[in-house]
């Protein structure tokens, strides 16, 4: 049975261009390059890459919220803090040194905290969501700062060197961090990246995108908006907690500044810089951020001014970020959207 023609076929109809290299491969490629880095780079450069890994993992979660679901959180560093302080408490207060246990506990604690916070925040969108997450982030920061009996106040809490797969490293700190810990973190990053890819490519991920595109309509096609947003929030928090644990082990310290609003700002900046519309974008943003920050701080202490102005410029001129711009250029050659 032939269907009658509806109207003049649209001249603007555009097929979605499927990228030649999908986001996961870009990410894994990046990780592969990182894995080869120790052969050519100095220990200093490798030490710089560790926060990159921590941030990138946290950003995988952040972008599930922002890029995929459309929720912009200004308090995501809260979970970095939760992860860090969990690691600190376990190693220095309870003598638990197994890194695997640190990771699992950080994930669980972040998950629980995010469940409670999420129930309150996820009912709202956009401005209200952003402000609420900002408020919770600062609430946590205040708590870390004030209750020095528990948290060590502005001194922070020490994070002792953990055991990787049960094995103890008896050498120096730098050798540990740029050696076995570096590779461990990279592998962890790859695995978590794979998991996040699966999540974004699933029907669940599709529902999240539907919520981002049109939350009014989404409900009418059966999307349980509140529940989906909450789950995304919790997943993003778990990734944040794990990222925070890695950061904490790298610096050996969990301190309140991890949860300060400007630190959440760092995450936002990295995502926008790299491009929140692509899978590997935020990780690229993290890499550029880490290198840029290192460079700028050697020149001036007013790093936040630079970051703020770059963010302003990005939003005005290049909101799709580095990866988005590259993707658009490639697509233009192919002729489509």
């Amino acid at each position: 049975m032939s269907t009658p023609s509806i109207d003049i076929p649209s001249e603007t109809a555009v097929r979605r261009i499927v990228p030649a290299i999908n986001g996961l491969w870009v990410l894994l490629g990046l990780i592969a390059i990182m894995a080869l880095l120790p052969m050519v780079a100095s220990p200093y450069a490798l030490m710089l890459m560790l926060p990159f890994i921590g941030y990138s993992i946290a950003l995988l979660g952040f972008n599930l919220l922002f890029g995929t679901t459309g929720l912009l959180s200004f308090g995501h560093a809260l979970f970095l803090g939760v992860g860090a302080y969990t690691a600190a408490a376990l190693t220095s207060k309870f003598g638990i040194l197994s890194f695997e246990l640190l990771l699992i506990t950080a994930a669980l604690v972040s998950g629980l905290v995010s469940l409670v916070i999420g129930v309150l925040c996820v009912r709202y969108t956009r401005i209200f969501f952003g402000m609420l997450t900002l408020a919770f982030g600062m609430l946590f920061h205040s708590f870390l700062f004030k209750f020095y009996g528990i948290t060590g106040g502005d001194q922070g809490m020490r994070v002792l060197r953990p055991l990787l797969l049960g094995m103890e490293w008896r050498g120096g700190k730098t050798a540990f961090l740029t050696g076995p810990f570096y590779y461990y973190a990279l592998i962890l990053f790859a695995l978590l990246g794979l998991a996040m890819w699966r999540i974004t490519q699933s029907p669940f991920g599709l529902h999240l995108r539907a919520i981002r595109e049109n939350d009014g309509k989404a409900a009418y096609v059966g999307v349980q908006i509140f529940r989906m947003r909450l789950i995304a929030f919790v997943i993003s928090a778990v990734y944040g907690g794990i990222g925070g644990t890695i950061l904490a082990v790298t610096t050996g310290l969990a301190d309140p500044e991890l949860a300060y609003w400007t630190h959440s700002g760092n995450l936002v900046f990295m995502a926008v810089l790299g491009g929140s519309g692509t899978f590997a974008g935020p990780a690229i943003g993290a890499l550029v951020f880490v290198l840029l920050q290192d460079f700028v701080m050697s020149v001036t202490q007013y790093w936040r001014f630079v970051m703020g102005s770059v963010l302003v410029l990005l939003v005005v001129f290049m909101p799709q970020g580095l990866s988005g711009t590259v993707e658009a250029l490639i697509n233009r050659r192919k002729g489509g959207q």
Partner: protein, 293 residues
């Protein structure tokens, strides 16, 4: 009794300042549909610049009684910084909301280092202003006259703003542009100029607020973000888009904060954030206006 009056007066004083900032936010939101996260930066800017201005006034040998007007003028003067910022914001007016959030957040970050650069990282205080105005007798309790003056000034500004919007020709044009920008433009209104005006006025309300509040506390790097969260609480209670709501919201937040401080002084910062959370649990839709859900 003394404590109660102290709390109420302190709370109302803080509410008066908050109201100015919230009124600025409401104005900008009403006309341009923009929520300006950098409002906190304007507030802090007003505070820091106020300190500098009073410092200059002291050096010039001005009588202390003029400090209040100096502060107000300082606030108004530095508010001019709103003009270039609005110029940048103009590029994203018609785009998705997250652009505004990101852009104004970028400004918030930039200002943070501007403050550090110009005024340093340690909080700055202004000691002699309270002494200049002395105390008055209010319901049998001695209260700082300064607080009463600020409350009066804030009310005067609020009334002035209301009259401007209701009675003057420009005020009516502003309201028309708020209702329907395209229509207003079709009738010959230069919307860009109106937007620039409104944004700058909103900015000035913030800077004046900061300048007025600084004698009672300190200008610190944390001021900006604290205010963002506080004004958010005001907006949540009062709803976005209602001046009356801003008034009520400011009172609630101001009084709750004063109460929290008098009960548990270390909780000052925490109390603000807790208030926000509590308000949202209890009153998600606000009392007036609709929450942007």
């Amino acid at each position: 009794m003394t404590e109660l009056v102290d709390v109420v007066l302190g709370g109302t004083f803080h509410a008066a300042v908050l109201f100015l900032v919230a009124a600025g936010l409401q104005l900008v939101f009403g006309v341009q549909k923009i929520v300006n996260l950098a409002c906190g930066s304007f507030y802090a800017l007003g505070a820091y610049f106020g300190i500098t201005a009073v410092g200059i006034a002291i050096k010039l040998g001005m009588p202390p009684v003029l400090f209040l007007p100096v502060l107000i003028l300082a606030g108004l003067a530095i508010g001019i910084v709103g003009l270039p910022i609005e110029r940048v914001l103009r590029t994203i007016y018609r785009r998705d909301e997250s652009y505004q959030l990101l852009l104004t957040f970028g400004f918030l970050l930039m200002f943070q280092d501007v403050f550090r650069f110009l005024w340093g990282a340690t909080p700055r205080t202004m000691d002699n202003v309270y002494m200049a105005y002395g105390t008055a007798n209010f319901l049998g309790v001695r209260v700082p006259t300064y607080n009463l003056l600020v409350i009066a000034a804030s009310l005067a500004i609020a009334v002035g703003l209301g009259l401007f919007l209701e009675r003057t020709k420009t005020g009516r044009i502003v309201r028309a542009t708020a209702e329907n920008r395209d229509m207003a433009e079709g009738l010959g209104v230069n919307a860009s100029k109106i937007f620039a005006l409104v944004f700058t006025v909103g900015c000035m309300l913030g800077t004046v607020g900061g300048a007025l509040v600084v004698p009672s506390g300190a200008a610190s790097l944390d001021m900006a973000v604290e205010l963002v969260v506080e004004s958010f609480a005001v907006v949540v209670i009062g709803g976005l888009g209602s001046m009356r709501g801003a008034l009520v919201g400011a009172l609630v937040v101001g009084l709750m904060r004063a109460a929290a401080i008098s009960l548990v002084p270390e909780m000052e910062m925490l109390s603000v954030y807790l208030v926000v959370v509590l308000v949202l649990i209890v009153r998600p839709a606000g009392l007036f206006g609709k929450a942007t859900a």
